[in-house]
């Protein structure tokens, strides 16, 4: 596979990246191709507009939030390393791989997956999902079929369910507790990233 190794060689620090994300070389190459395809002007990084150009994503009710998750605060661009690292959240958990006690928590661990979901709600990054933040997400996801009052009562009820310390907001800890019984490994994984 001469072409494989040559593509891999073009990517800087590819070894570190694979170590961190657990992706195989084939995945890295595929994602690199995709990255180049998205990066139409060949700048070596992506900006929000590049993501916006994906048609399906524009139709996704929480698409802009997901795009936002790729960009760390204050940054306008995302390079290949970050791109892959974000996508690594969605790699299914592999049970066969022996656990090394000293190694850091993998990106695709349960709590990291949850963190990714959590930050989609928590747009002001204060570590809490407030009622307003929840309402915004609900509004975009439920859309036309539900009235504003119904939305509000759904939001209130949702907060109540999770809210343990009664501060009318959901902290990450509460978020995790409330989803304890959900099979996150299943729900937040994509098969072809395996």
């Amino acid at each position: 596979m001469g072409s494989t190794s040559s593509t891999l060689l073009k990517i800087p620090n590819v070894e570190v990246l694979m170590q961190e994300t657990g992706f195989s070389p084939a995945h890295i190459i595929r994602l690199h191709d995709r990255f180049k395809a998205l990066d139409k002007e060949g700048r070596g990084h992506l900006c929000p507009q590049d993501f916006g150009a994906i048609k399906e994503l524009a139709m996704n009710p929480i698409g802009d939030r997901i795009i936002g998750a790729f960009f760390s605060p204050g940054k306008e661009t995302v390079d290949f390393h970050t791109f892959v690292k974000i996508l690594a959240h969605f790699r299914p958990v592999d049970k066969d791989r022996p656990k090394e006690p000293n190694s850091p928590e993998p990106i695709n661990s349960r709590s990291n997956k949850l963190k990714f979901a959590f930050q989609l709600y928590d747009q002001d990054k204060d570590g809490k999902i407030s009622r307003d933040e929840l309402l915004k997400v609900l509004r975009s996801m439920l859309g036309m079929q539900v009235t504003e009052e119904q939305l509000e009562s759904i939001a209130d009820r949702t907060i109540q369910e999770a809210d343990l310390d009664r501060d009318e907001a959901i902290s990450f800890e509460e978020f995790r507790k409330s989803l304890e019984k959900v099979n996150i490994d299943h729900k937040m994984s994509i098969r072809f990233l395996r």
């Binding site: 595929r30 994503l57 996704n60 996508l87 979901a117 079929q145 109540q160 937040m188 994984s189």
Partner: protein
């Protein structure tokens, strides 16, 4: 306790024995009639027809002529007409007997927790069969395939498919199909050939069975039976993925088995010599045509049903019946076209459930669900009992140790090999691999049941000389798997530590996040630029939403269909029910005023249900807990029965006496509804008739009561006036964006001012009180009965004489004071011109701005 139970069991057993005796008498009395009764649910009405069309073995011979009209000399007053009703009578009697067997099985849960019910039923079937054998010296009753396939099986499958967890089923459909199709073919082929090989090797002596017949036997024995599987797995509670895999597989592989069976049966009829490549190809083609044709037919019927339920609004009573009849028709139609009937009814149920549940009224959905459950459970019971009964028959038993033991061995071994191999293949691409213990349970759960028996009984003795051996072997395999594997399943699951089904409450936040996860995954797939599972799911959902729903759903049902909202609705309903039952546990009125009960869950319910009405209160609610402590410390409420005291237990103790008094009073003065006496029988409606006169009457009385109260306040009798006024202002002031109409009058006049600093907490408390008071009044039963004000009860006089302090106004409704609040509603019953007076009272109320808020409270009742 134990004694009681034992006594009841004994009593029951006596009855049961009586019934059995009765049964024997009947069965012997009709000895001449060799009638095989399986049963039927649809069958009674046309049982004469069905018995006529039944197997050739069902011969109603000479004796049927016995009841032909003969010459009579005198008019008989009563005559013995056994032959007229014989068949339906026996059918009904058998159904009763089988169901009583189930009752016996369920008497002691210690037994059912060890031996699954299906096994017990079979054992009881042995006993029944023994009794019949003893009486008749022949097995007059047994399960015959026609009855089984046409009257017993369809409703079980329909029920199973209608109640199938749809999403789970379709997301695992690939695995289920692979197991059902490839797994079954594998089982049939390997069991057949292995048995044949052993036969050739001389393991079972001389038998008149050819290789094709072995394959046919392999095909019929490979049917994993949904009935048996459900019966066992329902008690084990394994995790849902495992459950759906086993269950879905058993459901679909029945269809596949029947198809395979028919193909091999045709091969056997054709004879070994005529089979060439062309025939084999035809066989394979026919396999797929029959299987997929049946499924397709089922989908067509599902569409028909869904479209039909769009327009059945006006015949709601029989709405549920349509589904059952059409489902049954889909089964029969497939059978008529020689397509797979089981697959047809399965897909019919699975595909239509979503749309009919949305289209039909909620009541009809419940009806349908329960009807199906009754029918399915009923016939399941009968199947197991008859599997036992059928065994007690000397004629069917041809023993061949080698054949029987080898069959059991191969059935189990090849099942394991097949399941492990297919799962290994599937795990290569599964997101969440099926782990080894689950695979083991899957393989072990391959229970054979009535389908295999039915197919074996269908074998043609002319073509297959060793039919009885096969039948007997099938029965033994069934007993082995259902009883032995059934018993060991539970310990095995525990021992292997198979993941159990998590008993989790429905949670909105989980559902919400599931929705979010779907979107996230779809988005990430887009970003990766690959078409994955979520792309397909989303595509299907969009297509479904835009076109299929449009076609199959009522416009109205389409509108309020958002899944999350329906979950929310469901949760609220649950809460409301809990709330009411909690109230009833404490005695309804006590509950509505009891802080303890309200505390249980009130905040939760309150918050969710009324959040949109009263945002301010919501905020206050958050301080609720704080308020409590604060409050009990402040000793405003030190004297008796304080309405605002949240020191529940103390209050309870103090209140006990008053409670009794008040209760007594209320009972005496309640408005006695006359509704109960006016139930009208209606063929098509359940609802209790809403008598307009009665409503009118209540209205008039209430209006009148307002006038009375107005008078009394005007004359200054009611000391609450000032306070009320004051307080109302304060409240409306406090809630600028609350809806004054909706909320203002919910506050009773007992809302006192004294506790201004704690308003938040108090408000919420009062809200609670008065809200439930309002609800109580809405029910006419809670209206105080009308005695004329001149005869006011002693406690009223008392309070007025004492001229209570402001503080006394702030008491629980329990207390005499609070009751007084209700008092103005008492008016003379002899008044006739209440309407006029009511009008007057209304206008007066509007003019003078003083408000007896608790009377306004009544208004929503009449809106």
């Amino acid at each position: 306790m134990f004694f009681d139970q034992q006594k009841s069991v004994m009593a029951f057993l006596q009855h049961f024995a009586l019934l059995l005796a009765l049964l024997i008498v009947f069965s012997t009395s009709c000895k001449a009639v060799t009638l095989e009764v399986g049963s039927v649910e649809v069958g009674y009405n046309d049982s004469s027809k069905s018995s006529a069309t039944e197997d050739t073995s069902t011969s109603i011979n000479g004796s049927t002529d016995g009841h032909a009209p003969s010459v009579i000399s005198t008019l008989p007053i009563v005559t013995w007409k056994w032959h007229h009703i014989e068949t339906p009578y026996l059918v009904a009697l058998w159904i009763l007997t089988c169901w009583l067997c189930k009752l016996v099985c369920e008497l002691n849960h210690n037994v059912t927790s060890v031996i699954p019910e299906s096994g017990l039923l079979i054992i009881l079937g042995f006993i029944l069969g023994g009794i019949i054998w003893g009486a008749d010296k022949a097995q007059t009753f047994k399960l015959i395939p026609t009855n089984f396939f046409y009257y017993l099986l369809p409703q079980i499958i329909l029920d199973a498919s209608y109640c199938m967890p749809n999403k789970l089923f379709f997301s695992n459909l690939g695995a289920i199909l692979i197991h059902a199709i490839i797994g079954t073919c594998w089982n049939a082929a390997t069991v057949g050939t292995a048995l044949w090989a052993c036969y050739e090797g001389g393991a079972m002596g001389t038998l008149n069975i050819g290789p094709l017949q072995f394959l046919l036997f392999g095909a019929l024995i490979s049917a994993v039976d949904p009935v048996a599987v459900i019966a066992v797995f329902e008690e084990v509670h394994v995790n849902e993925v495992l459950y759906i895999l086993v269950f879905g597989e058993s459901l679909l592989n029945d269809g596949v088995t029947v198809v395979l069976y028919n193909v091999f049966d045709a091969f056997v009829s054709l004879g070994g010599l005529k089979i060439n490549a062309a025939e084999i190809v035809k066989g394979i083609v026919s396999f797929f045509v029959v299987a997929f044709g049946g499924s397709f037919l089922g989908v067509v019927f599902a569409i028909l049903i869904s479209m039909l339920t769009r327009v059945t609004k006006n015949v709601q009573v029989i709405e549920a019946g349509f589904i059952i009849v059409l489902g049954y028709l889909s089964y029969l139609t497939a059978e008529m076209l020689s397509l797979s009937a089981i697959l047809s009814i399965t897909f019919c149920g699975v595909c239509c459930q979503k749309y009919i549940n949305a289209n039909m009224d909620e009541k009809s959905v419940t009806t349908l669900r329960y009807t199906l459950k009754v029918m399915a459970n009923g016939s399941e019971t009968m199947i197991f009992v008859f599997l036992g009964v059928s065994a007690i028959d000397k004629n069917i038993w041809v023993w061949n140790t080698g054949f029987i033991l080898l069959t059991i061995f191969f059935v189990v071994v090849f099942r394991f090999i097949g399941v492990f191999f297919l799962n290994w293949v599937l795990n290569q691409s599964r997101l969440i691999p099926i782990d080894i213990t689950d695979q083991f349970v899957m393989a072990y759960g391959g229970l054979r049941g009535a389908v295999a028996y039915g197919l074996a009984a269908l074998l043609d003795e002319k073509k297959i000389p060793e039919k009885n051996l096969m039948l007997g072997t099938t029965l033994i395999v069934v007993y082995f798997t259902v009883i032995l594997q059934g018993i060991t399943m539970k310990p095995l699951v525990q021992w292997l530590k198979v993941k159990r089904a998590a008993h989790s409450d429905l949670k909105l936040i989980e559902k919400l996040n599931n929705r979010a996860f779907d979107h996230i995954l779809a988005a990430v797939e887009d970003i990766c630029g690959r078409i994955g599972d979520n792309w397909w799911t989303r595509g299907w959902n969009r297509f479904e939403e835009n076109y299929i729903s449009w076609l199959l759903m009522k416009p109205k049902a389409r509108k309020n269909r958002d899944y999350l909202f329906s979950i929310f609705h469901k949760l609220n309903l649950e809460d409301a029910i809990n709330y009411v039952s909690e109230g009833e546990r404490q005695g309804s009125l006590a509950f509505s005023r009891s802080d303890e009960a309200a505390n249980v869950d009130f905040k939760k319910q309150f918050g969710s249900e009324f959040a949109d009405v009263m945002p301010n209160i919501m905020v206050d609610m958050s301080n609720y807990e704080l308020g409590i402590e604060h409050f009990s410390v402040t000793s405003i409420v030190k004297d008796t029965i304080p309405s605002v005291s949240l020191d529940i237990h103390g209050q309870d103790r103090k209140n006990a006496m008053d409670d009794i008094n008040a209760h007594h009073l209320l009972q005496q003065h309640l408005y006695r509804s006359r509704k109960h006496h006016r139930h009208k029988y209606s063929r098509s409606h359940f609802s209790i008739n809403q008598n307009e006169d009665e409503v009118q009457e209540i209205f008039q009385r209430t209006m009148r009561s307002r006038l009375e109260s107005f008078k009394s306040t005007k004359m200054g009798v009611n000391p609450a006036k000032k306070i009320t006024k004051h307080h109302k202002k304060e409240l409306t002031h406090k809630m600028p964006n609350g809806h004054p109409d909706g909320t203002g009058h919910l506050y009773g006049d007992e809302v006192d001012i004294a506790v201004g600093s704690e308003t938040g907490a108090i408000n919420s408390t009062f809200m609670r009180d008065t809200y439930t008071v309002g609800a109580g009044i809405e029910n006419p039963v809670f209206l105080p009965d009308m005695d004329s004000p001149t005869h006011s009860p002693p406690w009223l006089m008392e309070t007025e004489a004492v001229a209570p302090s402001q503080r006394a106004q702030r008491r629980l409704p329990w207390t005499p004071n609070r009751l007084r609040r209700l008092a103005p509603m008492r008016i003379s019953t002899c008044s006739t011109d209440s309407f006029l007076m009511a009008d007057v009272s209304l206008t007066l109320e509007e003019h003078e701005e003083h408000s007896q808020t608790d009377h306004v409270e009544m208004r929503p009742v009449f809106d």
